[in-house]
Symmetry: C2
Subunit: 151 residues, 2 copies
Amino acid sequence: MQRTQFSALACSIARTLDVIGEPWSPLILHDVYVGINRFDQLQSDLGISRKVLTERLNWLVTQEVLTRRPYSDRPPRHEYLLTPKGEELCDLLLVMVRWGDRWTAGEAGPPVLYRHHTCGQIAHVELHCSQCHTPMRATDVDVLPGPGAAL
Amino acid sequence: MQRTQFSALACSIARTLDVIGEPWSPLILHDVYVGINRFDQLQSDLGISRKVLTERLNWLVTQEVLTRRPYSDRPPRHEYLLTPKGEELCDLLLVMVRWGDRWTAGEAGPPVLYRHHTCGQIAHVELHCSQCHTPMRATDVDVLPGPGAAL
């Protein structure tokens, strides 16, 4: 019911939340991203019920964020892979990580580090403008109605 | 109960989800960001129940993402403002918007456009590396344990 409400908003945030807007989905996505991509591995890593995990995986497959691929015939077993749409959602996770590292990690420091292939350095993501390539923050923009503003 | 579970994971994604990990919070944040920041305005814009809205606003204030400021004494009324911690969460929303625009907006196009103050152009955010400033995507990094990896 809540899902229908969010979809009805002509808003790309609401629509994104329709796909990953409950807390398990981003954690499942991140696990698949780091290679924890079989049902039993996911279940044990996240400590999630089999019922909820099944439901979330089916939802993410329906949304074309993950695909399911058999890795064993007997017994039949599947692993989950990111689609291009899912890979781009993982970019969002990198931004979430950055915020969490800055504001929630405390004195212990970041639980996870990311090494950028291009430069080989431990780095985090920064947001740049697609047009002028200088930093672009939420406080640096005007918000205007777009072509899809009407329902 | 779910909140406790997520906090227990040494993971900046899980900790970020503790703050905004239910679908209303990001939409409330975005409304405050665009200037819809009084209780009644928020309620009417989002079509959310007063009970849930009160609960979510109190949570976001507790988490120091929003602050509450009186704008009327009789009757007592408050508006909500972003803290620096909250402003940085809005950066995450810009990345969410970008994903939603690409993968969910369809033929109608983006519901909302963002004009970058620095260059004056309609733009979206791109993720760059904090070290070498070239594009940095989730598919471009190695994931390593950080100093805060142990609980």
